[in-house]
């Protein structure tokens, strides 16, 4: 069975050390596996010859494109969502958005904006994977879902090397996660519930700034543990605070992100500290980066009226749909396997991963290649600096997003 080197695009870590056994369509990770890559490859490996559909019925690509052109020509306020696509796919999405005057937003836009909002109001001091891996003598972990969202983070970033690291877990972790932490690390577990994150982060700010506070028991954490944590933070030579914005799922979670950013900035007054927000899954950073460099403003954005505009509330996909401000949805998704939100009565064209079956038939569904599986593609890694090329793993399979959209653009004229 042929073994192929692979780069995995199913979370923002973009591990490039995988070996995958390719047996016809079937795919099996034999090195560098994790729960996310195994699940995705199993699903994609089970699909044989996906075909486009019009109103649920199999059709040729040619007919599907013609039907899509009809939908888009009739639309006056189209919206393009999903956007878990590679760089080439996003370049084509934006060319199309300009052509049809669409609003564009990533499926995870509101999650991403928890971090982006703080960047735009405050800024930040951040670091990257290799810096954290080689230099960090203290890592503070916020939230409880990063381990499932970024399954090999511990193995690839936290655990290697002989660096003596202190680890602080701010949030309660399930026992399985705790077991994965480096065995020789000196761990301080605060174990606060997620609802306690805003209070705990604020108190840590007060403590490292040496404000006159007397920590009481806060979100289940003892005053002694809070003091100890602040002491550890101040004693670090190179500290890193890690979180995944998806874990911070409560109203105004950006205030917690801002408290973290402030903590990092304060600590940098005397020692070195940096934030490492884990992101990049479902190509959220890729989509936003291409949009930002091509147009000068981030997502979500509108290309209506022959100009581009950014507004995190006005152009958020769910808000646009909720307010009835769209009259056609184009959903473009090649990595996550996510289906579009239900849009009853609205014309809907769906480009999806080959294995996706829709509950309700869209007007048009076109299967597209997943980057790193059926097509080569570039994705931006979760630390926002490195872009990797994901080579193609197997022959055949559906066309790339950029191929489909470029054909569509040619037909739109």
């Amino acid at each position: 069975m042929p073994l192929r080197g692979a780069t995995c695009g199913f979370c923002g870590l973009l591990c490039d050390d995988l070996e995958v056994e390719v047996d016809g369509a079937a795919l099996r990770v034999v090195r560098g596996a994790c729960a996310r890559s195994e699940a995705a490859l199993a699903a994609l490996g089970a699909v044989v010859d996906p075909v486009p559909r019009i109103a649920g019925k199999p059709a040729s690509l040619d007919a599907a494109l013609a039907a899509t052109v009809e939908v888009l020509r009739a639309a006056r306020r189209p919206v393009i969502g999903g956007l878990d696509v590679d760089v080439a796919g996003m370049r084509s999405v934006l060319a199309l958005a300009r052509r049809i005057g669409a609003v564009v937003d990533h499926a995870g836009g509101s999650i991403k904006y928890r971090n982006l909002h703080v960047l735009q109001e405050f800024g930040g001091i951040t670091t990257t994977f290799a810096e954290a891996r080689n230099r960090a003598d203290l890592v503070l972990l916020v939230g409880d879902g990063w381990w499932r969202r970024f399954p090999r983070f511990v193995e690839r970033i936290l655990a290697p090397n002989g660096t003596e690291r202190r680890i602080v877990t701010l949030s309660a972790l399930d026992p399985a996660t705790r077991l994965t932490l480096p065995k020789d690390a000196d761990v301080l577990a605060l174990d606060a519930p997620l609802t306690g994150m805003p209070a705990v982060c604020s108190m840590l700010n007060a403590l490292v700034e040496e404000r006159p506070v007397k920590p009481a028991r806060l979100a289940g954490v003892t005053p002694q543990a809070l003091q100890r944590c602040a002491e550890w933070l101040r004693a670090a030579q190179y500290g890193v605070i890690v979180w995944s914005a998806a874990d911070l799922d409560w109203p105004h979670a950006e205030l917690t992100v801002q408290a973290i950013a402030r903590l990092v900035r304060t600590l940098n007054g005397t020692t070195r500290f940096a934030a490492l927000p884990l992101a990049g899954s479902d190509a959220d950073l890729t989509a936003n980066a291409v949009q930002t460099w091509q147009s000068g403003v981030p997502l979500p954005a509108s290309y209506a009226n022959r100009s581009v505009d950014f507004d995190p509330n006005r152009y958020a996909l769910r808000n646009v749909l909720a307010r009835g401000e769209a009259d056609a949805l184009l959903w473009v998704s090649s990595l996550s396997g996510a289906a579009p939100p239900p849009v009853p009565g609205m014309p809907c064209v769906v480009l999806t991963r080959a294995d996706v079956e829709l509950d309700t038939a869209a007007n048009v569904q076109i299967p597209v290649a997943t980057p790193g599986i059926d097509a080569a593609g570039h994705l931006l890694r979760g630390d926002k600096v490195i872009t990797l090329r994901l080579p193609r793993l197997r022959e055949g399979g559906p066309p790339a997003v950029s191929t489909v959209l470029d054909l569509l653009l040619a037909r739109l004229g």
């Binding site: 001091i125 670091t127 230099r135 690839r156 930002t292 000068g296 403003v297 290309y303 600096v385 490195i386």
Partner: protein, 556 residues
């Protein structure tokens, strides 16, 4: 296809000082000296009464790579204030201090620029830099890879590696990142900042590696020279923006030990500590040294008043200078055992003492450095101001009475401390053509750019003479790129994709064995993921052509 441009006055310093009126001929995108016998002229452009120069070249402009994109994301309000509507050929985008890549290409081309060079490409960020440059339409592009703060090189130097090994690593980096030159930013300082060192002078030791910036500068300048890379080591000196940094700038020149170096955004490195405020111009001392050092070339990094954003690899100094930023939000990053970056918005004000003096210092440098072949017109876009202000800057250089009028309106204390008012020099058109065309082409090794002789790329800019040089340079009548009309009177007519310029010096690939081990031990990607081959860079960079320029190795 043969095209004639007739009746223009030709300013082409690469071929002498004469500015005669003659016809130019273009065949298939290249300059030719005359038609073949009996050859039909397909089209004639009547350029009578105009002034023609080759396409301009910006050798230091931050057009690609993560930090400009961070600046865009940090300051969406600037983008929203400067929206550019779509036209029949241009896509909707935004301009302003951190312009979109689309607007960057459109505006550069409309101003008569046909090649732009990104000066600070982090090797680990090279793919994104090439992608952003690929989405910068019309102009040709190239980039300098940043070295001198990467742990691999610092480890080599600390271990006393031999010069051949350093040379091989430098060459390998040029190949792997598809670069045309090497830049060093605050030699060793970005790395030292990761170990909580907050400043690093030229002869101060890096707290972890124990080596000094002087060693790094000397060894990199030597490697670039020995490999025969045309562009000398591109140096962002130590102590950017720090009063009194004139001493470290002079020490940086000495560190090259006579080998060619290019000092970039020199204005930010020409500060003294005289006066009540302990901030003064040291332009005269610097200019004297540059005039006496034929191995040194510079670009100025002029500041211009208004809102901009500074984006630099120099995390150490950007963190230190962040308290001066407006609006008060900023980003600093440590990057991947490779480098760093810092993005700090700035609002330069003409009534502010420091800003006003910075403005004057830049102009003093332009006017005191005598040889226009060794001083280049830059604002370090966007750090001193956006590139769109170049026509204004040219007017400041060409028109003394205009310059003195502005001088009279700035902070009077700063004006009084500057020698600017006494400097009578006015740049000629010929000198402007040198510093924006002929000289950058020569120092980058671009044989077919920056001139209008036979064999050159047909990058031609047709200006209508005007008493106000700012008007003349802002909107040329026609801009031709590779023979094609791309802009007319400030309006983009055709959107094409430019080439990528690189160098590929010979080297011993044995260095990869050591690098492979280093990557496996320290990095979070493999060596093979890191490298960008020719096919990939053209795909990322949407380049129709990879222009590989010759290197003439200077060692056995």
């Amino acid at each position: 296809m043969l095209t004639r441009l007739s009746g223009a006055r030709i300013v082409d310093p690469a071929h002498g000082t004469q500015q005669d009126v003659r016809d130019l001929y273009v065949r298939d995108g290249r300059m030719v000296d005359r038609p073949r016998d009996g050859e039909r002229i397909d089209r004639t452009w009547d350029a009578a009464g105009t002034i023609v120069m080759a396409g301009a070249i910006d050798l230091h402009t931050h057009i690609g790579g993560g930090k400009v994109n961070i600046a865009r994301g940090l300051l969406p309000e600037l983008g929203r204030q400067h929206s550019l509507a779509a036209t029949d050929v241009c896509g909707a985008c935004t301009i302003g201090p951190a312009p979109s890549t689309l607007a960057t290409g459109y505006r550069y081309a409309a101003m008569g620029y046909t090649a732009c060079f990104e000066p600070a490409m982090l090797p680990v960020n090279a793919r994104q830099a090439h992608m952003e440059m690929g989405d910068t339409p019309i102009v040709d592009k190239g980039a300098y890879a940043m070295l001198g703060n990467d742990d691999f090189l610092l480890r080599l130097l600390a271990d006393g590696a031999n010069r051949a090994e350093i040379r091989d690593y430098v060459a390998w980096t040029l190949h792997a990142t598809q670069a045309i030159g090497i830049k060093v930013v605050n030699a060793g300082g970005i790395s030292a900042f990761k170990f909580n060192q907050r400043s690093l002078d030229v002869d101060e030791a890096h707290v972890h590696y124990g080596i000094t910036p002087r060693t790094i500068l000397r060894e990199l300048a030597r490697a670039v020279h020995d490999l025969g890379v045309p562009h000398p080591l591109h140096v962002h000196s130590s102590n950017l923006g720090v009063p009194g940094n004139v001493d470290s700038t002079l020490a940086t020149i000495d560190a090259a030990e006579g080998l060619p170096i290019h000092l970039t955004h020199l204005q930010f490195h020409s500060y003294g500590t005289e006066g009540d405020r302990k901030f003064s111009s040291a332009a005269a001392r610097i200019a004297e040294k540059v005039n006496a050092s034929p191995n040194v070339s510079v670009d100025v990094g002029q500041i211009l008043f208004g809102q901009t954003v500074t984006a630099s690899g120099d995390s150490m100094l950007q963190c230190r200078n962040s308290r001066h930023g407006r609006p008060p939000k900023w980003v600093v990053m440590d990057i991947e055992c490779d480098a760093g970056c810092g993005v700090v918005p700035f609002r330069y004000r003409d009534r502010d003492f420091v800003n006003a003096l910075q403005w004057a210092i830049g102009l003093e440098l332009f006017l005191m450095i005598r040889d226009p072949w060794r001083v280049f017109l830059t604002t370090d876009h966007p750090n001193g101001g956006p590139f769109t202000s170049y026509p204004h800057l040219i007017k400041l250089l060409m028109d003394r009475s205009f310059r003195n009028g502005v001088l009279a309106s700035i902070n009077p204390e700063a004006a009084a401390m500057s020698a600017l008012g006494s400097l009578e020099r006015e740049y000629s058109l010929h000198e402007i053509a040198i510093m924006t065309r002929a000289a950058p082409a020569r120092i980058l090794g671009l044989e077919d750019q920056g001139h209008l002789g036979p064999g050159a790329a047909a990058n031609i800019v047709v200006y209508e003479p005007h008493p106000d040089p700012e008007v003349m340079f802002a909107t040329p009548r026609w801009v031709f790129k590779d023979g094609e009309l791309v802009a007319e009177r400030g309006e983009v007519k055709t959107v094409i994709c430019g080439a990528i310029h690189t160098v590929k010096p010979d080297f011993d690939r044995g260095i990869e064995r050591k690098l492979k081990g280093w990557f496996e031990q320290h990095h979070t990607q493999s060596l093979s993921s890191f490298k960008i081959d020719d096919e990939e860079v053209c795909e990322c960079g949407r380049a129709p052509r990879l222009a590989v320029h010759a290197c003439r190795a200077r060692t056995a």
